[in-house]
Amino acid sequence: MQIGFAIFNGLTVGMSIFLVASGITLIFGMLRILNISHGSFFMIGAYLAYTIVGTEPDSVIGLAGGALAAALAMAVLGLVINVAVFRRLRDVGEAYSLIATFALLMVCNGLVKAVWGVNYHSVSAPEALAGAISYGGFFAPIYSIAIIGLGVLVFLVLEIVIHRSPVGKIVRAIAHDPWMSNLVGINTPLVYALVVMAAFFLAGLAGGLLLPNQSVTPQLFESYLLQSFMVVIIGGLGNIRGAFLGAIMLGMIEGLNFLFLPRLPGILIYVVLIGFLLWRPQGLFWQPGAQTSDQHEVMTGGVPSSFPPRATKTRIAIGVVLAAVVLSLPEWANQGLLFIVGFALAEAVLALSWNLLFGYAGLATFGHAAFFALGAYLVGFMLRDGGGVPFLVLLAASALVGAASALIVGFVALRRTSGIALGILTLSLGEILRRVINYTPELGSDDGLSGIPRPVVELGLFSVDLTSERAYFWFLAASCGLIALALWAYTLSRNGRILVTMRQDPTRAEFLGIDVRRHRLYAFVLSGAIASLTGGLYAPWAQIVTPDAASYLHSTQPMLNTLLGGSGFFWGPVVGSAIFSALGYATRTFAGLSELISGAVLILVVLAAPGGILGLGAKFGRLRRRRAPTAPDVPAMQRSAP
């Protein structure tokens, strides 16, 4: 009987997810954009419907009417988003379009917080849906039955429209080959717009109709986002039947999880997802044309230089001034600012290590924070409860643990996946780590490790006391600076040139005698080691580490920093980190404002300046230089154009 109940509950969850996932898969199937923000649009739909129907909808008609109104409003919003964002994303690489939709998610979430506040609302089901029917010993809420029915209905409608109607023929033709479809006279932009509107309509409808099943909070997007992702990945991106089957599978797995692992809710689905990605990265149903990683990706954002620049006076001066400003901070800055700068330094190095994979090796991962969290928890736990292991040993251990886990993950992941599958795989691993930490009381569960002491470093003859804030700041700044310089030197050596060769053309690299898989793995290991070491340096600075350190939101931070600064430049991530930290500092008192601004800035960067801020700077610099031609010097290794 418990099994029956678990299955029924699972189906309800699965069908709710399907309503969101179907929109994601529709948009992907058409536009080849994996819309990470779809869960947030679902949330906006829910808030709109909530505003219309209030907390006590008086009838089923009232609830349905509110949902319909929200759905129509969302369809209009979809039209706007399609024109303003999606249409422009077709000219950028896969990773960039993923990040742009993530930026949309930030804007949506910020907007929701700013408009509706951060409070929690709950909506009760109208009376007609509030009851339950029982059959034998089995008992099922009417509302759940209605949701399951709705999910099946939406599936049938989509199935008939896409696979059995003349309209569907056009839609499938475009999905298969947009260029050819355009050539034979199909108005592809119109169909794109209609599909996006349909997807947004579904998100709004789902948001309205699912109101009574959950509390309306600004976190509403999260569960729907990750789970609908899993559904479309398992089903095969862009395939409605796959999404439907995937949703049922997800429901069943959740049910099993509830039965067998009640202490670790939601973890089984990640395990299944990872198995799926490794076994069948293309999902249950392979969709023609769904492979989106192509040559285009390579050049968006530019390729970083892998040859040492000339040490001009200006460059040296900039370096010296920056170092002096940062190191003198404890003398003149207030405590709040000092703290922010310390965080920004750690985030900058984390972003540098991520860009080693993205900008140099051409691998976009979405779970980089997991390595950071490993190091942070290792050092934090040992400093607090470990009993006197020397700090420098702990730091070395954190780098080693990062390297070892990256070796294991990379060995499997790089062998089997690339592109979107690699991104989702790394994202899932990060989420698993977060959940494991969350359910481990020894690591402080939800609250994290607090009260981490700052160490005294024993160096034999003398010891360095890092317990004061100033002392640890200097140590942190010097360490981050050294790591960054060492990494810079690495990228300017023969090894760096191997990386940019692989990124630009893996096949050419292979025919230069570079074992691409092995060198990608090296980059993965180095990047993981640095991320973990950074986490280790960060723990005593913050003196608290929470599971959020491993969350996907934290994983996106290095991406945002890198893209804003410019992935085609070694120092781009540092520039981005400085700007985002300043933004966060300036907007810290307004709920949602920082997300709103960060997201908007990021969308602008991806759409208008994919080279980031440094890319813009280089463009202007070139324009200026072009007016004053210089004589070419043959043996010097210098580029004459971007």
Binding site: V303, S493, T507, E510, I514
Partner: protein, 251 residues
């Protein structure tokens, strides 16, 4: 030098190569020709290690290499150019060649020194390769701005910087203008003499094939039709029927 026996390859249910055997001697230039879909490119990929054969053996200088991946074959002396030139578009011509010279040194087991920048002899070797491939006036141009013919020449320079013992060229003059084509043949002839190269190539242009090759294999539908010198191929009745007859207008 290269000895292939009985190579079979199929994509799913479709058999693309149905038992190909060839043997190429040191210093020889061997051309694969045949109509579109004959399996030339697939055979090429099997030889270079981009795709594994289902069965058969490949011996290179007496060593069985059919299980090695592409980069391992490069270490043993393979060099490869593509129908659409594979170069590094985000780097300059000189940087492309420097990276190739460095790659050779690494393949030969030279460790890099402490300096980050490539050594002077590396840059000079790269610059001299640019001269030999007629690219010395474009050293500091980004490769993405090169014309089609220049890209092909740069790719040839990159590949020769590896000092391969066998050069594999997939349609070295595909998509070139007649003058570019002439220039490319001249460069290949010159470099072949200088480096004493063994060359394997596929090509549609009969002028190029007859201008470069010592021996030719004609393929059709995954099977060898004839192997022989230019004279033998010209007079082979089977070849005339299935290939040269239809393809005359192309030449």
């Amino acid at each position: 030098m290269i000895e292939c026996r009985n190579i079979h390859k199929s994509y799913g249910a479709i058999a693309v190569l149905k038992g190909i055997s060839i043997s190429v001697a040191q210093g020889e230039t061997f051309a694969l020709i045949g109509p579109n879909g004959a399996g030339k490119t697939t055979f090429f990929k099997v030889l270079t290690g981009e795709t594994p054969a289902n069965s058969g053996s490949i011996l290179f200088k007496g060593e069985e290499i059919s299980r090695l991946n592409a980069s391992a074959r490069v270490h043993r002396g393979f060099g490869r150019t593509f129908q659409v030139a594979r170069i590094l578009p985000g780097n300059t011509v000189l940087e492309n060649l420097v990276i190739a010279v460095e790659a050779r040194l690494r393949n030969q087991g030279h460790r890099s020194g402490f300096g980050l920048a490539p050594g002077r002899e590396i840059v000079e070797e790269a610059a001299s390769m640019a001269r030999r491939t007629d690219l010395d006036d474009k050293l500091h141009q980004l490769a993405s701005f090169l014309s089609h013919g220049d890209r092909k020449r740069l790719e040839l320079g990159i590949t020769l910087s590896l000092r391969p013992s066998v050069l594999m060229m997939d349609e070295p003059t595909a998509g070139m203008s007649p003058s570019d084509r002439r220039q490319t043949i001249d460069i290949i002839l010159k470099l072949r003499a200088e480096e004493k190269l063994t060359i394997l190539l596929t090509e549609h242009d009969m002028d190029v094939v007859f201008g470069l090759s010592d021996r030719i294999m004609v393929m059709n539908q995954g099977e060898p039709v004839a192997v022989g010198t230019i004279g033998e191929i010209r007079t082979n009745a089977a070849v005339r029927e299935i290939y040269l007859g239809q393809d005359d207008h192309d030449a």
